[in-house]
Point group: C2
Chain length 229, copies 2
């Protein structure tokens, strides 16, 4: 497959874009990265994802595919040679899908709220929620990894990609809210997994450094402030 | 597979439970239906879905599986003989997954808000949102069905089950908010599909009648009112 046939429209700070990048790396698929502008949105984005107008958009030939998890599953199902991203056993697949939905619908929204929380009481309640979520994910790690390095076993799988893509932002929250979340004393499996995941060849050049993300947030906030004047 | 090995913990008015029932019917799988109580929640529910404490929970042997879409995909992947629920082509599967996510995350929440909307202005804005969503789903129907009877082609598929499971509640909103949503003049494909889907053998004894759902809501509201006194 020629490189130009596989294209990803995205932006480096987006965890959802990072998911697709990691999945492509896991499968060793060459692709063209097209950087989306912050504002105004590009014609390519508006025409290829008219429903949500959001990155990532993945192009395989002339076919656009939207929504990060849909894209990751597509990549796994379309490029069947190379490591599998989803587990091969239907029950293991169901367990992975369950936790991926949990991360997206419950855990990450709490982390986002914590990042911008005002007031000590609200902050403490959100820290408790995020930490409880991490304790559940520690249990999930034990169940899914079966003593191996990743949720997916010996190699990076669906839940690794979905949850791991948020590690940069998790570290941002640790810095901004001044709280230890990936606490090796409480969640040793996850804490060690996070180190392994971040330094994996398919991940290390994709996952943004927290300092770079914090700088990015400052630039965006300044722009929004300037635009509101 | 003995009937007792396949069990569904649920409650008839739940669209999410209905999805699993329809998927099991499509695959002609015999199962035991265990009715969940409204309050307090059963021990079986609390122990088998400790994260969300929500129905449906599907049991295959001693393995519990939660989250309706996870269950439907599991059923499709575990019982591979019988009609396929997800399309066989990876791109078609991506398109179906995209629209299922749209229905769950965008369209159905608007329908829920419309059901309990107060004030003419709020109601009108929500009707517009729901109707716009149905226009998008009409386009999706044309794209996915390729001139056939269902989103899934000749037989009921993933998007049929996910979207179709909400038809009872859609009709409730048509009655309660006094508005025509499945308007054959505007969305002829969907309007005709809805009639076909509702009378399909795998669906007709599962999908609750709107009148029964309205009666159910009244009972629940009265109970909540009485408990608050």
């Amino acid at each position: 497959m020629a490189k130009s046939d596989v294209k990803l429209l995205g932006f480096w700070p987006s965890s959802y874009v990072n998911r697709v990048q990691i999945a492509l790396n896991v499968k060793s698929i060459d692709y063209e990265f097209v950087e989306e502008r912050f504002r105004p949105k590009s014609e390519l984005l508006l025409s290829s994802n008219p429903v949500h107008k959001k990155i990532p958009v993945f192009f395989h030939g002339d076919k656009p595919i939207c929504e990060s998890l849909v894209i990751v599953q597509y990549i796994d199902e379309e490029w069947t040679n190379g490591p599998s991203i989803l587990p091969s056993d239907p029950y293991d697949r169901a367990v992975a899908r369950f936790w991926v939905a949990y991360v997206d619908e419950k855990w990450f929204p709490s982390l986002g709220e914590l990042r911008s929380a005002q007031g000590e009481e609200a902050k403490a309640a959100l820290i408790e929620k995020v930490v409880e979520g991490l304790a559940l994910l520690e249990e999930a790690f034990v169940e899914c990894s079966k003593g191996k390095a990743y949720f997916g076993g010996d190699s990076i799988g669906y839940l690794d990609i979905a949850f791991g893509s948020f590690l940069g932002w998790l570290k941002v929250v640790e810095i901004v809210a001044d709280v230890k979340l990936l606490d090796e004393a409480k969640i040793p499996g996850l804490a060690q997994w996070a180190v392994r995941f971040s330094s994996n060849d398919a991940v290390k050049d994709v996952l943004p450094e927290p300092e770079k993300l914090i700088e990015f947030v400052k630039i965006i906030e300044a722009r929004i402030k300037a635009a509101a004047k």
